[in-house]
Amino acid sequence: MSVVTDDAFTQLVAEHHAEIFRYLMRVTGRPSDADDLSQETFLRAFRARASQNSCEPRAWLFTIATNLIKNHFRAQKRRRRAHDALRERVPSGPDRDGEFSGRDVGEVVERIVAGLPLKQRLAFVQRKVHGFEYEVIAQNLRCSPESARANVFQATKKIRRALDGHSADRKEAP
C-alpha cells in the first residue's frame, strides 16, 4: 500500500490541479462547476490519501473527479435544474446562423463535446484529451474496455458529423 504523505499531497496538487481543472471544465462546460468540483476532488483525495492504494495517482484523481461529475449531473437532473444549467452552459453544435465561422476549431470542438451524452463525453475527453488507455477509462467509468472504446467511437462519430455539417455550412456561406 502506498500512503500519500502530506508533502507528497502538496506535490500532487502542484502537478495535477491544472489538468483536473481542464478536464472538469471540458466535461461540465461551466467554469463555476470546474472550480467547485476540482476543490471537491482534491479535498476528497486528501481525506482518502491514507488508504490510497492505486499506484497511479493521476488516474486515481481522475476517478474521483469522474465520480463527482456523475453525481453532479445526477443531482442536477433530480433538481430539474437542467433548463437553467443549459442557459449558462455553452451551447452545443452550431448556432442557428451557423456562427462557427470566425471561431478556432478547438472552440468549435469544445462546444460539440459539451453537447455529447455524459458517458461519451467522459470517455472521449479522457481518451483524446488526456490520453488514457482504454483499460484505465474502463475502470474509471466502471465498464468494460470494449464499452469504453465504443463510447469513444460514438463520440468521435458525432463530432465528425457535426464538423462535416459545419464545414458544409461554411462552404455554403457567401
Binding site: R47, V105, G106
Partner: protein, 322 residues
C-alpha cells in the same frame, strides 16, 4: 444507401485516423478505401476530427480563473488539514483507549468504557475523524512503553482545541507541568492558574480533561492526599497509573490516598525537595506542596535535596520503588 461493408468499416476508419490501428486493421482499411470513394472521404473526415481534437487539447484554459481556483483549493486544504483528526484505539491494561491527533498534536485521549461520546465531541467542533492505525503507530509505541514503565513521560505535543474554556485550558496547561512520579492537589493547581478560590472548578475542568494520561490529571489529587474524582469515578485507574509511576498509595476501605509519610515534599517556587518532617516546612499551608514518590523522581525533575533535612542522607523507606 451504405453497403454493409461500409457500415462495418467505419469504426476502423476512426481507429486508423487516430493512428491506433494494428497492421491487419490498417490493411483492411487501405483495401476498402482504395475502391470506395465515400469511405475515403469519411476517412478524411475522421482525420479532420483528430486535427480538431488536437486543437482542443491545445486550447488555453483561462489562467486567472485557474489561478483563483488553485488559491481557493490551497485555502480549503489548509482548513481541512486543520480539521482532520486521525485516531486509533489502543488496547491496554487500562482497557481500550482512544487516541486522536490533529496536525498540531494529540487532541483526545479517552478511556472507552460505556457509551463513547468522542465522535460527537469531535464532530461538534467541526473536526473530521479518520481512523488511521498506521499513522498512529508511533503514539501507540510511546503509550505502550509508558504503561509498561519503560518510558517516564509521554512527550506528545498537545492540541487543546477541545478545551471548553480559557480557564480549562490554563488548568490543563498547569497540570501538564506536573512531573512524572509526582502529585499535587487541586488547590495547588487553582493557585497556579491565579484562581486560588476555584478549587472545585479546577476539579471539574480536570474531570473533563480531553487528553487523559498525556495531560496527567491523574497526578492531581485532594488536598489531604486522597485520590478523588478521576474521569467519572474511575479512581482505580488513577491508582494504577500513580502506582506505576512509583507514588506510594494506601487503601482505606474503598478509598485510596497517597502515603504522605513516604513522600518527599517540594514547596512552590523551591528548588530543594525535603523529607515530610523537615522543620523548614512547618509553616507551609496544607495542600500546596508537590509530593514526590521517590528521590529519583524529584531529582529527575531537576530538584536538589534540602540542605536542612538532608533527604539524601536520611532516605525514607521506599514502599514502591519505580
Amino acid at each position: 444507401m451504405k453497403s454493409l461493408a461500409c457500415v462495418r468499416i467505419e469504426s476502423d476508419l476512426a481507429v486508423v485516423a487516430a493512428g491506433e490501428a494494428d497492421k491487419a486493421t490498417a490493411r483492411r482499411v487501405d483495401e476498402h478505401v482504395s475502391r470506395c470513394e465515400s469511405c475515403r472521404t469519411l476517412l478524411a473526415s475522421y482525420r479532420n476530427v483528430e486535427a480538431a481534437t488536437a486543437a482542443l487539447r491545445e486550447r488555453p484554459v483561462d489562467r486567472p480563473l485557474l489561478a483563483r481556483s488553485r488559491e481557493r483549493l490551497e485555502a480549503g486544504l489548509a482548513d481541512l488539514r486543520h480539521r482532520i483528526v486521525h485516531y486509533a484505539i489502543f488496547p491496554s491494561p487500562l482497557g481500550n483507549v482512544l487516541v486522536a491527533r490533529s496536525e498540531m498534536g494529540v487532541i483526545l485521549v479517552e478511556y472507552l468504557r460505556g457509551a463513547p461520546h468522542w465522535p460527537a465531541q469531535l464532530t461538534a467542533q467541526g473536526l473530521e475523524p479518520i481512523e488511521d492505525h498506521d499513522g498512529l503507530s508511533t503514539l501507540r509505541k510511546d503509550f505502550a512503553a509508558y504503561l509498561a514503565g519503560r518510558s517516564r513521560r509521554l512527550e506528545w505535543p498537545v492540541d487543546l482545541r477541545l478545551a471548553r474554556s480559557d480557564f480549562q485550558r490554563s488548568v490543563l496547561e498547569a497540570t501538564a507541568a506536573v512531573p512524572y512520579g509526582a502529585v499535587v492537589s487541586y488547590k495547588r493547581i487553582a493557585r497556579e492558574v491565579g484562581r486560588p478560590e476555584a478549587v472545585r472548578a479546577v476539579a471539574q475542568a480536570l474531570r473533563h480533561n480531553p487528553i487523559a494520561i498525556a495531560i496527567p490529571c491523574h497526578r492531581v489529587i485532594g488536598t489531604e492526599g486522597a485520590l478523588v474524582g478521576y474521569s467519572g469515578g474511575k479512581t482505580a485507574l488513577k491508582e494504577k497509573l500513580l502506582s506505576m509511576e512509583g507514588v506510594p498509595i494506601e487503601r482505606e476501605r474503598k478509598d485510596y490516598r497517597i502515603v504522605q509519610r513516604s513522600t518527599y515534599l517540594l514547596e512552590p517556587g523551591d528548588h530543594e525537595y525535603c523529607l515530610p518532617t523537615c522543620p523548614s516546612k512547618a509553616k507551609v499551608p496544607a495542600g500546596v506542596s508537590t509530593w514526590f514518590g521517590s528521590r529519583e523522581r524529584a531529582e529527575a525533575a531537576g530538584y536538589r535535596p534540602c540542605t536542612t533535612c538532608r533527604p539524601d542522607l536520611h532516605p525514607l523507606p521506599s514502599r514502591s520503588a519505580p
